[in-house]
Amino acid sequence: MNVFAFAWRRLRRGWRSGELLIVMLALIIAVAATGTVHLFSERVRLAIGEQSGDTLGADLVYRARDPLPASLQASIDALGLHGTATTLFSSVVFAGDNSALASVKAVGSGYPLRGAITLAAAPFEDGHAAHGVPAPGEAWADARLWQDLQLQPGAELQLGRLHLKLRGVITDEPGKGAGFDDLAPRLLINADDLAASGLLGVGSRAQYELGVSGARDALARLRAEPLADGVKLTTPQDARPELRNSTRSAGQFLDIAVLAATLLACAAVALSARQYGEKLRDEIALLKCLGARRGFLTRALLLQLLLLGLAAGAAGALLAYGAQELLARALGDLLKLDLPPPPLLPLLEAAGLGLLLLLGFAAPPMLAARNTPPLRVFQRSESGSTATRAITLIAMATAAALLWLATGDVRLAGWVLAGAGGALLALASCAWLLVRLLTPLRRAAGGGGFAWRFGLGNIARRRGATIAQVTALGLALLALLLVSVVREDLLSSWQKKLPPDTPNQFLINVQTEELDALKSFFAAHGYADLQLWPMARGRLIALNGKPVTADSFPDPETQRWINRDFNLSWSTTLNPDNRITQGRWWGEAGRGKPLLSADAYAIERLNLKLGDTMTLDFAGEQQTFTVSSFRTVDWDSFKPNFFLLAPPGAVSDLVPRQYLTSFYLPHEQRALLRQLVTQFPNVTVLDIDALMAQVRGIVDRIVRAVEFIFAFTLAAGLAVLLATIEGTRSERVRETALLRTLGAGTGLIARGLIAEYAVIGALAGGVAAIAAQTLAWVLAANVFHIAYGPRPLLWLIGTASGAVVVCGLGWLSLRSTLRTPPNTVLRQS
């Protein structure tokens, strides 16, 4: 017999009878989930690679918190390179009665040296490459600022003391990142207008950049020159680090969702392949009786698997292609990347993964059916070796290989496998316990009617299958509960933690000479007790008399921290959000003494002990302090806080200083900001409300993307459920026929079925709610640092949604068995 013809005929029969439907479905889910995420990640990776030069806006960019040294510009000129200066800072922009916090970029002629600004006449119109930069007195804004300020072309904007005419919408610009610094909408102005705005004074918070381009040799020579203190160099290779990091983190999170979907799909494939293998046993016994050899059966089974794998791979790849496009649309503009067309390799890899999954999970139980002895044609109990141990070992090895391929890290794969095993064990134990608790209920259900007795009886009878169903569905529901209900729950708990009058506005860059005027301004508007904190910026140069640099510390985090200026403040009183843990607070007695109180983070980074001395350099003015107390700070209080505090008078009057404060401004009084900025143009207002809304918007979109991928996890969970439900089909047919013979009507049997699946679903939902609640509690305690108690609503939602989903699926899958004619019983006899 032609083995291909036989395999094809068997496959068609298996497909028509629905025996292979779940294997196919689970494979498609695994291929689609993996393909979607890999394809999307690959597009992002390619986009970053292609656009890094243009993304940076130059071949090299020097950055500093203070104006860049003139010597740098001299070197650029000497080497024959082009340079263009850019200044970035945050400020509130006004248009009529509207105001918004903007990220202002003041650019000089020649900007950008690489890439181009794309400009449109009005939002959502087609953009074109801009020529030059905004003319003095004009500004370009991105679409979000247009929207926030409800702008019209030619509108007049006010930035500090400056009045600007709006001339275009920025649709794309080099150097626009997706990091926190660039959260605010962009306003682009001419560098010549900067001085007139009056926004930047001494010590103002701004970023100064110098973009450089030119010949490769000259650039290499420039790069070889030592960097001045506080100056950082960015090259195209490290462009968009925030994007690389955030896509890597998001990628890892999505990978976990994909791995969960793949592992569930593996379970579904293994379950349904085992059932298919069992059904094949009669057929194989007969074929052996008729003379079929083992080799023929092996080739026929493997060919069926190959055909199935190719079909599922193609369908999964198509689905992945569509799904990654949806993901790209959901996240594309957030990443601010021009994504290239999808490459085909990740799709082929995903299809290959489908074949691997088939070989590891479907082939062993199906091939084990070849062990069926021909004697089975006479004695049905003869099943031969089921090779259970070998099947389990192969499945575990395949799962480990899949995880290793997905993560590329043996250790991580091991951890994920152990974690998945642990989570499954915990869910299964919980399910086992609930099913056990149900047994006495089943005996007491006599009063609930026959349908309940029948439904609960089935659960107890198929205890193993019930636990598998509850576990699989519980896992899928857990994923959904976590990303929907629990996320909302934790976020709102966190928001509620802040009292309603939590400061929502920060003022920074307040100069000493403005202090009295600013206090009077606020007193006149009802803010008499506004506390302004002095702040000086110093660099640590010695610890206990020994000079230190970044290289003095082994860990990268401390090295980065040391490289920055420390913000130091002074006071005789300690705010309620600070608590002394060691030593004593100096109070009034400390005035003028060179003491320091260090926060827990500084203590940990510098390994400080009480009595240690720290020498700080305040723009050339060096001072040494003795650490006299340790503090913990509640950084979530939204009030100004400092790693280092000193007594008033301890810092020399020669040290430059500025002041900052925070206060709560009701929404209806936002007009006050306009007056404030007009009167004090160099004071920077940070609108935390707006920032929080922007952060929340970004988090929401990332969560939506993750939820989208979790849909695959849920689908895989449902495939497992379907596999276990379908595994009971032949038994159900027999039961239904018997019950009908004994006089049960369709309605009664249907009610029994619904009762059974409602209970299974409720159990799965309950298990998922327990797990979600536990995880939420762990997150609340360790990440959010908030109190998080039991949430009865979560239990209710979990249990109810589980009951509804499983009832629906059980009904869809098995409703046809309700039509089993009763004479089937006699035929089976």
Binding site: R453, T741, L742, P821
Partner: protein, 219 residues
């Protein structure tokens, strides 16, 4: 129970196949009838039609005085509930239900009260009072068929249908089951319709109906 001109045709490989051909039959209350015939003669089909498990292609069937022809599946099930008992060759007990729960099934389905007490009594009458909480897989074949007998008689049905009740049992155990079935039948005066290959068993019934190729050969 009455069958008038009952025929049953099915389609096999696109061709019509006649399984029963104009069968006429009357079974009086309390009578016992054995349907015999070779394999494929239509015995089981006739039993399933008489019990309302299937509908004839033509002809009329009345069960307990009610015509089955106009009734749908559920109405026929409702007619059987509490009136009809069954004994099958392969016992057909629900694996997840205890012996007691299996026996309670028809009583509950018929909506009769005291299901537990009736089922307990029925199991006592077949000598299984010590096996109430056992599951089918914990019982021998003979014990399983005794549970099936208890289930068949528990609701005190007017009619008992039995399809090769000893087909899966050895001769001695089968003999005990037959004794028990006839004893219960006598005690309750139940109408008995029995399908069998066993001539000795058929001889114990009041009447025999022999089928050959779907036609009544002797009555």
């Amino acid at each position: 129970m009455r069958a008038s001109g009952v025929s049953k045709q099915v389609s096999s490989g696109g061709q019509p196949l006649t399984i029963l051909d104009h069968v006429d039959l009357d079974v009086a209350a309390g009578e016992s009838l054995a349907i015999v015939g070779s394999s494929g003669s239509g015995k089981t089909t006739l039993l399933s039609l008489l019990a309302g498990l299937d509908l004839p292609s033509s002809g009329e069937i009345a069960l307990a005085g009610t015509s089955l022809n106009g009734l749908d599946e559920d109405a026929r099930a409702a007619l059987r509930a509490g009136r009809v008992g069954f004994v099958f060759q392969s016992f057909q007990l629900l694996a997840g239900f205890t012996a007691l729960e299996n026996v309670m099934l028809p009583v509950e389905l018929a909506g009769l009260g005291d299901a537990r007490a009736r089922a307990t009594a029925a199991l006592e009458s077949v000598g299984l009072s010590a096996r109430l909480g056992h599951y089918p897989q914990q019982l021998s074949g003979g014990e399983q068929q005794r549970v099936a007998l208890a289930r068949a008689f528990c609701g005190e049905p007017q009619i008992l249908f039995a399809d090769e009740p000893t087909g899966n049992l050895d001769t001695i155990t089968g003999g005990h089951i037959i004794e028990l079935m006839f004893e219960l039948n006598r005690a309750r005066n139940t109408t008995l319709v029995l399908v069998t290959h066993d001539a000795t068993l058929a001889a114990r019934c009041g009447r025999r109906l022999t089928l050959a190729s779907g036609r009544v050969q002797a009555q």
